[in-house]
């Protein structure tokens, strides 16, 4: 199996074979993460810069753990130390970083298209760790990993995504990659949270009626309601949002018995999920997703940097 990608920026450039290889490779990293010494030397001597121009705890932690377990040297660059705060342009920042002779940049930015720019300017491998409301490909990979883990395959699987589709970079990567894998995708949201042309993402169905859609779904993917974005609110109240689009105990009976619940985290308990659903012993795979994040990021780093095979079981 060949893997011909230098970057992980636009997941639509990844074929079903590419995605399957990533997921299979992630699976091979599982045993390493479950033994006492959780480290292999496959990327020893590689330098990876985590360029997080926007606050992030979970994605950044997950990348850092993945990098360390592969023995990369990592540099965390961002926060208040970002040069943009001092007025430096993105291009100049990237050139400065490249002068350190690095091998990869993992970039998170609040502006769409920045990973493409960084790739163009730097010439090194780039992983998009979330750009504006555009894409978040490693999130999609971990979602695919968890869905495959619990559902076996994607063919004919009905996946419903509920919530703020319009501002979701998760959707920008998840919807097209689910389509690549052969799943059917339904977007469920009020008109104020839908993108102008949902079909442009690849969605098969679009609806504002959660109760009608639920009985068909094998996977219910709940997006986080970003309370910090509620200025000029796209819905009247959290109470009403929860009433119409929240997954709660009452809706449990509408779901297929084996339907699972995903969420990219962090959860707003009582808004998109109530405690019953968030902690549901058979449906909720949310913590599996977090673990999968480390595995798929290890796989992406490994395949993109062309690491040597020794040390993987």
């Amino acid at each position: 199996m060949t893997f011909n990608h230098k970057h992980l920026i636009d997941i639509r450039e990844y074929s079903e074979e590419d995605l399957t290889l990533l997921l299979d490779t992630a699976e091979r990293f599982r045993p390493i993460n479950e033994r006492r010494i959780k480290k292999v030397p496959v990327l020893k001597g590689y330098t990876v810069v985590n360029m997080f121009n926007e606050p992030s705890t979970r994605t950044r932690s997950s990348f850092e753990i993945a990098e360390k377990r592969l023995s990369c040297d990592t540099l965390n660059f961002g926060g208040s130390s970002t040069s943009t705060v001092k007025g430096e342009s993105l291009d100049d920042t990237v050139e400065t970083l490249c002068s350190y002779k690095i091998d990869m940049i993992v970039v998170r930015d609040r502006h769409a298209g920045v990973p493409q720019k960084v790739a163009r300017k730097s010439g090194v491998s780039v992983i998009d760790a979330g750009d504006g409301k555009h894409q978040h490909p490693t999130q999609a990979l971990l979602d695919l990993f968890s869905i495959r883990e619990h559902k076996g395959s994607f063919k004919g699987l009905n996946v419903g995504i509920v919530g703020d589709i319009n501002h979701s970079r998760v959707c920008g990567s998840l919807v097209p990659s689910l389509k690549t894998m052969g799943a059917k995708v339904t977007l469920i949201a009020p008109g104020t949270l839908l993108p102008p042309v949902p079909e442009a993402l690849g969605a098969d169905y679009v609806t504002s009626n959660l109760d009608e859609a639920l009985p068909e779904l094998d996977v219910v993917y709940m997006l986080r309601i970003q309370q910090e974005r509620l200025e000029g609110a796209p819905f009247p109240s959290l109470r009403e949002y929860s009433m119409l689009f929240g997954l709660n105990e009452q809706r449990d009976k509408l779901m297929k018995p084996d339907a699972i619940i995903c969420h990219p985290g962090p959860i707003n308990r009582g808004v998109e999920l109530d405690a019953f659903m968030a902690d549901h012993p058979t449906r909720s795979v949310i913590l599996d997703q977090v673990y999968a994040g480390v595995l798929v990021r290890m796989a992406a780093l490994y395949l993109l940097l062309g690491g040597v095979d020794e040390g993987i079981s």
Binding site: D10, S89, L90, D91, D109, H111, A112, G113, V114, Q116, K117, R120, D131, G132, K133, H134, Q135, R169, G172, P195, P196, V197, P198, E199, A200, L201
Partner: protein, 435 residues
């Protein structure tokens, strides 16, 4: 000193001219148009194979002076205009400071007289500081030569304010030109709202955000009896609104740009090329076709460029942080001749209407025609000249064109302002124009 232009194909629908003939110029004016003209003493120019038309006018350019001279200034912007084939431009008031008083109009006009390569007319802001809150001193600006009023760069947000602008400006007999953008609908919109904005994760700038103000301003023009000029119209429905307004007898005119005709939102791809970030945004292929149809059927009154120079370091920023706008004054003639005239979509006469006759009427400046007594403001175009748009070829300080690499046929080679050449054989001449 006299000048005899020979062998050019002279086209001017104002006087019904479309033939090879000679034009004799003396003291900045056309003395005679005809055959076998005699000149006692002077210079002869052989313009065989070229088209000679009344000087072209671009009534929507940003000269960035005062305040942003690193992008463009009056000298470089008017050199670019001459290079593009223009004898006159009308510059927009969104400078720093905003052109909203007579003193700043005076600054632009006097600097243009000193260093300009073409005639420079000034659009003043219609509200103080382009804030949309209070009337600007239009009377003072008219006394210093302002020809039009606009808050170009942003829309006047309140309908009541727009009505006040139109009511007040009536006494000066100047057009109010409107940059149509409802900020409550457009917000931080980056590119046309639709499939491309969805795919690229960029906030959409919906067509309705433009059309709602086009419709509103046509209604206000009907109410007040004023002349509303719709700027850089970009949507099919917007054109329908203008079409209907004209049919209803409203005093409405409109302009379109080459980039809204020849580029679409599909130009903005996964590389997030900021050269294609313009305001209003590039629209769909159907919109671009509708704009061209409007040019062909007469709905569109004039072609402008919205020449919007920006420095490399500004356009090199993140897409969402990069400024809106592209340059255009040096590519407009080539694009129009290549894509509209040479393809037979419009006649040379219609091109002259769109780029010379109508723009002069809209801003109310002296008529220029190929007839004795007229100012000798003339543009010479080689309709067969093949060239490739290249950064190195620009006189503008800025290179943010969306047409770099395009292969075009036809461009202006010579320009005369008041009988003096500002460009000869494609080269801009040094020394100020006699304006």
């Amino acid at each position: 000193m006299a000048l005899l232009l020979k062998n050019a194909h002279v086209i001017d629908p104002q006087v019904g001219l479309n033939e090879v003939c000679e034009v004799l110029i003396r003291d900045g004016k056309i003395v005679e148009v005809g055959h076998d003209l005699k000149m006692e003493k002077g210079v002869e120019r052989d313009l065989g194979g070229k088209v000679l038309v009344p000087g072209l006018v671009d009534i929507h350019v940003h000269l960035r002076d005062p305040g942003q001279e690193y992008k463009e200034d009056i000298e470089s912007g008017t050199r670019a205009a001459a290079h593009g084939g223009f004898t006159d431009v009308c510059c927009m008031p969104n400078t720093n400071p905003v052109i909203d008083t007579g003193a700043i109009v005076e600054y632009v006009r006097s600097k243009a007289k000193a260093v300009g390569k073409c005639r420079v007319h000034v659009s003043g802001a219609c509200t103080a500081g382009e804030k949309g809150e209070a009337l600007s001193e239009m009377g003072d600006m008219v006394n210093h030569g302002a020809v039009m009023f606009t808050d170009d760069g942003r829309g006047v947000q309140s309908a009541g304010m727009m009505r006040r602008v139109m009511d007040y400006s009536l006494q000066f007999g100047k057009a109010v030109s409107s940059h149509c953008q409802d900020e409550s609908l457009v917000g931080q919109g980056q590119i046309n709202e639709g499939a491309v904005s969805t795919r690229l994760g960029l906030l959409g700038w919906p067509a309705t955000g433009e059309e709602i103000q086009i419709g509103r301003d046509i209604e206000i023009a009907a109410l007040t009896g004023g002349h509303i000029h719709i700027q850089h119209l970009s949507t099919a429905h917007g054109l329908d609104l203008v079409r209907r307004g004209k049919a209803d007898g409203v005093n409405v005119t409109c302009e379109v740009t080459p980039h809204h005709m020849f580029l679409t939102e599909e130009s903005i791809a996964e590389d997030y090329d900021t050269r294609f970030k313009v305001n209003p945004p590039l629209r769909t292929a159907a919109d671009a076709q509708a704009v061209i149809d409007g040019v062909v059927d007469g709905t569109v009154d004039c072609i402008v460029t919205d020449h919007a120079p920006h420095a490399d370091h500004e356009k090199a920023r993140e897409f969402e942080l990069a400024p809106f706008g592209m340059t255009g004054i040096e590519t407009s003639v080539g694009l129009v001749v290549s894509n509209l005239v040479n393809t037979g979509k419009i006649s040379w006469e219609r091109m002259v209407e769109l780029m010379s006759i109508n723009p002069r009427k809209i801003i109310g400046i002296e008529r220029v025609a190929l007839e004795p007594g007229s100012r000798a403001d003339l543009t010479v175009i080689d309709p067969d000249l093949k060239w490739t748009v290249s950064e190195d070829d620009f006189e503008s300080k800025s290179k943010n064109s969306g047409f770099i690499g395009w292969e075009l046929t036809g461009r202006a080679t010579d320009v005369y302002v008041g009988g003096w050449a500002t460009m000869e054989d494609g080269k801009v001449l040094d020394g100020p124009a006699n304006s």
